[in-house]
């Protein structure tokens, strides 16, 4: 059985007190509890503070470009559907730069798990507004306050019929750990939007701010009830629900692609030139 220590990577370069540190700690615990070995996992990350995540643990890693975690992750699943693939992104990374990929990924429903470290601000580039920054927030690049309405990724995901939609908070570690496990065990594309505090650049949505508002959805909520899920998803004020908001078990794209459905992963399917040479014939 793997130990938490097996997941120790480089020393994080995040600020002391950053919510990312808690997410990292919870991640390692969840992986160890699930009995997953580092080589059985592939983390794909983009750019941003969250993009550094894979370096601070141990597993197969593709740390690519800003916003592009999902295209890479999905193709990895198409090429090797035995691999557990987690896409680690930030709110600017996934919802801003990678918005189109986010929409397409929810439609495709490949078995990719998307962890979005959502601190409602750009941390790496020093404090500009992200798609989830509250309207009116003043930043260096939005001196008159953010004029756009904040994006609600959880509501968007429910609207897009994302196979599993969950929200957690870095400060509620036990709940977050269970959510990570639930998400990983789910068969389908899953969004786990994780609130985290940015101690340097987000003076509004602080640790305390989240702590006061986040409450678990509780056993009464039926995540397969889409209307109920949508109502919960829209709740974003004095109280913000966390937990599994929505679940729709729908066919995996891996099971719909004739080349790989019920077959060996593409990466292990044999190739010989003799098998394909016959294709020349139809051009005679």
């Amino acid at each position: 059985m793997p130990e938490i220590e097996d997941y120790r990577g480089q020393n994080p370069a995040w600020c002391p007190g950053c919510g990312n540190l808690q997410i990292l700690r919870v991640f390692k615990m969840a992986m160890a509890e699930m009995g997953l070995e580092p080589h059985e996992l592939l983390l794909v990350s983009g750019i941003g503070q969250a993009g550094k995540f894979p370096h601070y643990t141990r597993c197969n890693t593709f740390n690519g470009l800003h916003g592009r975690t999902l295209p890479v992750s999905q193709a990895i699943r198409m090429a090797n559907h035995d691999m557990r693939v987690i896409a680690v992104a930030g709110d600017g990374d996934c919802y801003g730069e990678g918005g189109n990929h986010f929409l397409a990924a929810m439609r495709r429903n490949l078995n990719v798990k998307l962890f979005v470290h959502d601190n409602q601000v750009y941390g790496l580039t020093k404090g500009q507004a992200s798609p989830t920054t509250a309207e009116g927030t003043v930043t260096g690049t939005q001196p008159f306050g953010v004029l756009s309405e904040a994006m609600n990724p959880v509501a968007l995901a429910v609207a897009m019929d994302c196979s599993l939609v969950a929200r957690g908070f870095s400060g509620n570690q036990e709940e977050l750990k269970e959510l990570m496990k639930t998400v990983l065990e789910h068969k389908g594309f899953a969004l786990l939007d994780i609130f985290q505090n940015c101690i340097v650049y987000n003076k509004v949505n602080t640790f305390q701010w989240y702590k006061e508002r986040c409450y678990p959805v509780g056993p009464d909520h039926d995540p397969t009830d889409r209307e109920a899920a949508f109502r919960l998803a829209l709740e974003f004020g004095d109280r913000i629900p966390t937990g599994v908001i929505y679940r729709h078990d729908r066919p995996l794209m891996e099971d719909l692609m004739p080349v790989i459905a019920g077959a060996e992963p593409l990466v292990r399917q044999p190739f010989s030139q003799e098998d394909v040479a016959g294709e020349l014939e139809r051009f005679y």
């Binding site: 080589h39 592009r68 005679y284």
Partner: protein, 581 residues
Amino acid sequence: MDYTIRIGGQAGQGLQTIGAVLGKLFARSGFHVFTHQDYMSRIRGGHNYYQLRLADHPISSSRSLVDILVALDKTTVAGHRGELAPGGIIIYDSGTIKEKYEGESFLDVPARKIAMDTAGNRLMENTVAVGAILGMLGLGLEALDKLLEETFLRKGREIVDQNVAAARAGSDYARENCGQCAFTVPASASGDGPAARRLLLDGTNAVGLGALMAGCRFYSAYPMTPSTGVLTFMAAQGKKHSLVVEQAEDEIAAINMALGASFAGVRAMTGTAGGGFALMVEGVSLAGMTETPVVIYVGQRPAPATGLPTRTEQGDLLYVLHAAHGEFPRVIMAPGTPEQAFYLTGKAFDLAEKYQVPAFIISDQYLADTEWTLDGLDPSRIEYHDYRLRAADLDKLDDYKRHAFTGTGVSPLAEPGASRHLVVTDSDEHDEDGHLIEDADTRNRMVEKRLLKKMPLIREEISPPLLYGEEGARTVICGWGSTYGVMREAVDVIGGAGSIAMLHFSEVYPFPGTSKFDYLRLLGRAKRTICIENNATSQFAQLMRAETGFEFSDRVNKFDGRPYLLDELLEKLQALEKSPA
């Protein structure tokens, strides 16, 4: 024997179908065939044509003058009657185009009426036209009957019989009514003996076949003319040949998907045109930094911006060469023929995998859509070697570093998940393990490994340009990519020992060295050196000067979105000949 048939009409009238059937027939009968297409960016209407040249000797370009003009509408008659060769005939159906033309050069074939009379089906009118053309050329219908059976049997025997009857009626009509037809075509190109079977292949399918033979397993793309054909070809192969094909949400996703699949351990490719490539550029840089093999097909079309979407230009050579931030090695193949497109796509895969670099195949609408007859293709000439470390190799290793420093700069590329070894890569500068670093020493060593060590090795793999003609030629015409055919034929026509030769570059980057063939010496000895390009700024000539210091004495350019036709190039060369060298 050398005849040109041009089929003109509106999009949706079936001119491609007529052209494709004729092309295949002639190729099967052993003739040399060359076809090209000129079409507008619309699905119905407008004016398009499909041009087909057949000869009893090798040909590699289109001519300007037409021997048989098949006019499916009045616009075709009006627009092309002036391009009729002496003895040329325009065939049309006065019943459908609602116009009657008088004169020796017109043959009114009531195709729709014949289709209704013989088959009771007006859809057969194009088959009547094919029959009529064969009748005009004095060719038999056996090969056509066979092709109609192959094509239509899945729709039922009745449809096959209707088509066969329609073709026969069209042929009979032409033979009886075309007294002025004076075409002389042997029954097959090889005279009395059995015809040599030939492949008829365009640049698009050649790239697709090359990729297939090279073990491509993943193709992701966003549709864009003229590259969509490769996506369609690959999609059709999917189930049969273990190929995953995904239409991405945009070109950014397309290249990132190809990189993801490649990282996971399969050979991957993406394709687009110049505008889509603009979106892919950051991904090219990512391939460079992460040393992830990928093959990128770029079909050029006239730009900037949307340009002339369905037409041709060689305007993106320097763009493809310089696209992406940062310094890293890349390979650029610029095939000039479908045959080269097949083999060079194979070579692009081999070099991409061997050196873990992005490799480009740069084509254009003209090459993508022109069909050539080929004697055959040999898949075994496409190198296939799995350079990646798989489970069996990895289990023997005590230690594995994705970006390990090595003598050649090429680090071991492992399949993630195949063993306990972790495979880590990063778009940030990284250490041997793939983890991000910022120190100067590691940065220096990584640039040396990734770029400076690999580049000379890749250059060694590049083949020299092809010389057609004699070494001591007074005039050397030079080009790259799709101008191959027309330049080659210009050399044939101008002829004369020692007067003219062609130098064609199909592997353009890394720029070929002179150790295998001293082409600079050849150029230096020529009295006149002419660089011929389908662009406005002679991009290859610029590259040549940058890489070798050699400056061509003359440059010929064409940037109207159309390819060079043989007669047009000959005129330009003759005009140059008269000017002082």
